[in-house]
């Protein structure tokens, strides 16, 4: 992908921080912060899918919500399609809303139960466009066709649909205003295995047809491997590794990525018999009180003294790969350069 260098990223995030204040006591004094997102940078190219993976509570949804300005971010910049998003005022934000949308995890909770499918899908049209009622209905039908919902269902209510169909309604609604960029926050996590594939295939088809760019948030590594072009791995509010899908799954470099991938069981009893997962000890520390130095140091099987003192810098390996770990920092390279022999699994 040599020419990708010359194309501008559609989404550009720099040193994004999102802290939630902790208040305590009678006077609700500010006693600290939950550092849900603590200095994150990444790009997403037009038409690309960036997968964002990591364990529960590591900050994935907060990243998605912050870059769409569903939160007022603590600091950092977000640029989508050339426009600054993180710090613009409400009015200009509103005019930028149509190009960036979100698909949520729980299709049940994210759809108003008292609205028909047509009014759910039509709501963003009413808010942002001036359409005649014929145009409006035609657009609703078009969207329903795109996501594979029978037009005859337009007058029905969400509870009359299955989980997979409800997710299709959510997708149609997100597409209503011709967005360029969609944050998919665990769009298939609430669905059955046999339905997940239907929705993932739909998202892929729509991407090709409408030239969409996705941030695909998921804890399901096998689905991310299927859908993402590049993958960012998060741990405790930070990105620890970013790489192309092929590179990441073939040779994970960061010790956390290695553990995460090795923990995924294989649907194959023969392989399972010989798989030796890296079993991490302990739990994820609290984002209100992250460890000093490398935030993975309390669980890292390869932890060194330096890790508990100094935060590792992000190192660029070229080809879009970045890793934040002392094993790969400049002064360690002679002893710790990843070699085929070292990363056996």
């Amino acid at each position: 992908m040599a020419e990708a260098e010359s194309v501008n990223p559609l989404v550009k995030v720099r040193d994004l921080k999102m802290y939630f204040p902790i208040h305590s006591g009678l006077f609700r004094t500010h006693v600290g912060d939950i550092k849900a997102v603590d200095g994150i940078s990444f790009d997403i190219m037009p038409g690309e899918t960036l997968g964002l993976v990591g364990e529960s509570g590591c900050g994935k949804s907060t990243v998605g919500r912050s870059i769409l300005r569903l939160y007022d971010v603590t600091s950092g910049t977000v640029e989508i399609n050339g426009s600054e998003i993180a710090h613009v005022d409400r009015d200009s934000l509103r005019s930028k809303r149509p190009m960036m949308q979100m698909i949520f995890q729980d299709p049940q909770a994210s759809l108003n139960p008292r609205m028909t499918v047509a009014s759910i899908i039509g709501e963003p049209l009413d808010e942002h466009m001036k359409l005649s009622s014929d145009e409006r209905l035609a657009r609703i039908y078009e969207l329903m066709d795109w996501v594979g919902l029978n037009r005859a269902f337009a007058k029905r209510y969400p509870h009359e649909f299955s989980g997979g169909q409800r997710q299709r309604i959510g997708i149609a609604r997100a597409l209503a205003l011709n967005p360029k960029f969609i944050v998919c926050d665990e769009p298939i996590a609430a669905l059955d295995v046999s339905i997940q594939a239907q929705v993932v295939n739909l998202l892929e088809e729509l991407q090709d047809r409408l030239d969409l760019t996705y941030l695909f948030i998921s804890h399901d590594l096998s689905m991310v491997r299927h859908i993402a072009d590049r993958v960012a791995v998060m741990y405790l509010g930070r990105i620890v590794e970013v790489a192309s899908r092929e590179a990441l799954f073939a040779e994970p470099l960061h010790p956390y990525t290695q553990a995460l991938l090795s923990a995924v069981p294989e649907p194959d009893p023969e392989l399972e018999r010989h798989r030796k997962p890296i079993v991490l000890q302990g739990d994820v520390p609290s984002p209100a009180n992250p460890p000093k130095g490398c935030n993975f140091s309390t669980r890292c099987p390869k932890v060194m003294d330096i890790c508990r003192q100094i935060e590792p810098e992000v190192r660029d390996f070229g080809g879009g790969r970045q890793v934040a770990c002392h094993l790969y920092s400049e002064n360690m390279t002679t002893t710790a350069e990843p070699t085929a022999g070292q990363t056996k699994n």
Partner: protein, 339 residues
């Protein structure tokens, strides 16, 4: 049966119906299965396929109404669990048969300490004194890998992480040395690295304690790693069962075949497009009179809508599936349907 060991749990013709405002829901339709000492039986199937209701039915844990147990026998330890008195049943539940339910937060009581919740079954079922129950509780927490066990007895569930709460649930289920452990999606709510910890723990405990386990999950990867035998459920029925290697290498039922193909892999070759199973599982408003998978099955033929296929043995020992395609002699002739 070619197997030598007598089953420790033998379920036959289990039928459970829910009476709802929308009509009856036939959640479990004539389920037969058995469990042998020391074996791990994996149960898979999508949500609503009847996995939980089957297990709750055999322990008579479902409130009635709305649940109604229509039929079946559950032989355990020489007695039919569906017939014994509530007193006798209480002696079995939580002591001879331990169980872990889906969501750890709803299963541990938030208002009692971890120590109390561990000690209670020990005192009730095993008649231990307060001090004995306490030291056994500490032992159990250590067994499931909770550091600093003694101090943590005083903690409440919300002070534990999700993974630790699930360990506590396992400790409670193991408290009275059960012969059978039923675990309903014990890792579904957990992250993969925590899931890996729990799975390693269960493998180790199984080795140490030698109990038989029923492990319910929708994750085929988890099943592949821990099960000896697999039972696949669809629409309240067992559609296929067999040794784990057989099920993955040579699935017989079209649903099992399709299910195995819809899951992308993290290792090995990557498919360009995911296989899908079109449509969705039926809601069973009546007892099945035809194959419940027929509307989604790419091989469906006339006979599939005329009768409900029974579990039939195939050449590999212990491997059975419920599909008319296996009935070679009569496959093309719908006339032969009622055999």
């Amino acid at each position: 049966m070619p197997d030598t060991a007598m089953p420790i749990l033998d379920v036959k013709g289990l039928k459970t119906v829910f009476r709802t405002r929308g009509g009856e829901v036939h959640a479990v339709n004539s389920v037969d299965f058995d469990l042998r000492p020391g074996e791990l039986l994996g149960v898979v199937g999508e949500s609503g396929s009847g996995k939980s209701v089957t297990m709750m039915s055999l322990l008579r844990l479902l409130p009635s109404p709305p649940a109604e147990m229509r039929d079946g026998t559950v032989m355990f330890d020489g007695q039919d669990l569906l017939k014994i008195s509530p007193e006798e049943l209480r002696k079995v539940r939580g002591s001879k048969i331990g169980f872990i339910f889906q969501d750890p937060m709803t299963s541990l009581n938030p208002v009692y300490t971890i120590g109390f919740q561990l000690a209670e079954p020990l005192r009730a079922h095993m008649g231990l004194s307060k001090a004995q129950a306490r030291s056994r509780s500490i032992e159990l927490l250590q067994l499931v890998g909770i550091p600093d066990a003694e101090r943590r007895l005083k903690d409440y569930p919300h002070q534990f992480s999700g993974g630790m709460r699930q360990r506590v649930m396992i400790a409670i289920a193991l408290a009275c040395d059960p012969q059978v452990l039923i675990a309903d999606e014990p890792t579904t709510a957990l992250d993969v690295t925590i899931q890996a910890q729990i799975i390693e723990l269960v493998k180790e405990l199984r080795h140490k304690l030698g109990m038989a386990i029923i492990w319910i999950t929708h994750d085929l990867g988890v099943i592949a790693g821990i099960a000896d035998r697999v039972m696949v459920m669809y629409a309240g029925q067992v559609v296929e069962e067999g040794p784990v290697g057989e099920i993955f290498r040579d699935p017989q039922h079209p649903y099992t075949q399709a299910l195995l193909k819809t899951v992308p892999a993290v290792r090995g070759p990557r498919a360009e497009r995911l296989q899908v199973i079109e449509g969705q599982p039926p809601i069973m408003y009546e007892a099945p009179v035809a194959c419940s998978f027929r509307n989604r099955c790419q091989f469906a033929f006339d006979r599939c809508s005329q009768a409900n296929p029974a579990l039939t043995g195939i050449s590999a020992p212990g491997h059975r599936a419920a599909c008319f395609l296996l009935d070679k002699a009569s496959t093309p002739e719908p006339e032969a349907a009622n055999g």
